[in-house]
């Protein structure tokens, strides 16, 4: 694949990227989305231009408007010989940023990178178009592991196993995928795929259930649960040293051990007190602190990069709803105030959105929810039951 090349050749009053804010503000309806006007495309039939518009439309905090006078930004795309000239105008200040894109073989890849740049300029927040999604899905009767881009346009089947493979987790560096493979005679194996060389190796297998929760932020460790029928255990697997450390064990049901981005702390789900709740666990002091009190059924935690907030699924009147909360419980909000089941919420790496999965009959859709405005968009739908969505 040819190297992608963008020439940013005119940048007046450049936006200061160092000013990006990492403050998380959950459920603030006063925040309005950015209004974007797209001028009549003179390059209408060019796939790259169409893809770029499609990607920007996926963002819940960008609204496309028909009237330039009502817009915060205007985007025009023109063909310039073999290249494409993309001009972003800040309507209030008349600042102009121009991108020239040379012809490229991989339009999806190019559009993703270009969308990231434009999103950053418009919202002052890092783009998330390079996010990778992993999930499992039935493939001729056996569930396999899949890797997708944010739009579902590039989906790769990573496994071709004879038995079910589920619960994939991808590393923050997007180079490793850990997943659970079932044995026909009971028992499961945790396997690790290295996306750089496609090696798929077993790292831990036993009778019972072995399920990974997440990688550590540096990608060198995997947190997973192992249940042998008697005791639930949480292990850390070191991908460099290739060894295991048992960090916690309990007779309670333990699930979803995940990174928290809080020093030396992981989180997990336990039904220690009778119903599933989320706990923070300090790896040094070996002490756990209960984080969720508001609902009887709180599972699937995912932490923001700042470590100040997390999202989780609570079952309310039989419906799985997504809530966001600060770790101290003071800042708390329902993100899905509709009668629809959502699962597998994950915080985007720009702190602004939540990815989540929802099933509708035999279709599954991946949604992106703006944590501040609660606006949401559907990223893509597949004609299958997707499960165990995870993103990085």
């Amino acid at each position: 694949m040819k190297k992608f090349e963008i020439l940013l050749f005119l940048c007046l009053l450049a936006v200061n990227s160092a000013a990006y804010s990492l403050t998380i503000e959950i459920s603030n309806p006063n925040l309005r989305p950015f209004k974007l006007y797209v001028a009549d495309q003179k390059a209408k039939n060019i796939e790259l231009a169409n893809l770029l518009i499609h990607y920007l439309q996926l963002m819940p905090n960008i609204v496309f408007v028909d009237d330039i006078d009502n817009a915060d930004h205007a985007l025009s795309i023109e063909k310039k010989g073999e290249a494409l000239n993309i001009i972003l105008t800040f309507t209030k200040t008349q600042e102009v940023i121009s991108f020239e894109v040379k012809k490229n073989e991989d339009n999806v890849d190019t559009a993703i990178k270009l969308a990231d740049l434009i999103f950053e300029k418009i919202t002052q927040t890092k783009g998330i178009f390079l996010t990778n999604l992993v999930f499992s899905m039935s493939w001729h009767g056996v569930r396999q592991i899949f890797l997708s881009d944010i739009s579902g346009k590039k989906i790769r089947k990573l496994t071709d196993n004879l038995t079910d493979s589920v619960a994939p987790k991808i590393s923050p560096q997007r180079n490793l995928v850990v997943y659970t493979r079932y044995f026909k005679t009971g028992g499961t194996s945790l396997r690790l795929i290295d996306l750089r060389n496609l090696d798929d190796i077993p790292i831990y297998s036993s009778k019972g259930l072995n399920v990974a929760g997440s990688f550590s932020e540096d990608g060198t460790k995997i947190y997973f649960t192992s249940y042998d029928g008697k005791i639930s255990k949480i292990f850390i697997y070191d991908t460099d040293k290739k060894n295991l450390e048992l960090i916690y064990s309990s007779r309670a049901r333990l699930a979803t051990p995940v990174k928290t981005n809080i020093n030396n702390n992981i989180a997990f789900v336990s039904d220690e007190y009778g119903s599933p709740q989320i706990f923070l666990y300090n790896l040094e002091s070996k002490k756990a602190k209960r984080l969720t009190y508001k609902h009887n059924y709180s599972t699937s935690p995912s932490f923001a990069l700042t470590g100040t907030h997390f999202v989780y699924v609570a079952m309310v009147s039989g419906i799985n709803k997504i809530y966001a909360s600060s770790v101290d419980g003071m800042d708390f909000s329902l993100l899905t105030p509709i009668e629809k089941n959502f699962e597998d919420p994950h915080w985007s790496r720009n702190e602004r959105f939540i990815f989540a999965l929802s099933k509708d009959h035999n279709n599954s859709s991946v949604y992106l929810i703006d944590i501040s405005t609660l606006r949401y968009t559907k990223l893509f739908t597949l004609p299958a039951v997707m499960s165990y969505l995870y993103i990085e």
């Binding site: 990573l158 309990s250 070996k286 004609p383 299958a384």
Partner: protein
Amino acid sequence: MKKSLLLLFILILLSACAKQKVVSQPLQPEVKPVPKEEVVPKEQEKPVQSVQETQIQQKEEAKKASVEEVTPTMIAKAQTTVSDSSSEEVSVLAKMIHFDFDKYDIKKEAAEILKEIADYLKANPDIRLLIEGHCDERGTREYNLQLGMRRAESAKKYLIDLGIDEKRLETISYGKDKPLVDEHNEEAWAKNRRCEFKRIK
């Protein structure tokens, strides 16, 4: 007389106090405040020493991952259902046991079925069994995996108590991934909260 009056006075006073006490009873049972500070989970074992397991089981082989690109059309075609091996099972192993929501204790009806299965296993000592735990669609997938495993283990323990050798029984959980009935009502949920029994071939 004075003593009697004093006694009467004390009795009236006590009676009044008793009445007051009844009135001031809270209407709701007392709810203890949930601890908000650090809690050490009840059942944690002693602080775990750093266990370095150098001998990781390598039963499975290393291999290469696939890189096949798939399209929605291919995905739709791949959603074919494969006939379940349970249909080949003898009638007793085709029976299932069911559970209450978020529970894994063996109910009376389930105990009767497990007794039948135990008798069958005793009459067929070469047969080994895989017990699959399943859940309904409510709740989240990873937590339901753990719940399904508890259900399978409950059934296993019950069979062991009925005299079946532990080595003949294996367990696994599919959580809510393999519903028996793909509907969204109480009747379907009740059918999906189950254990299935598969002969290990």
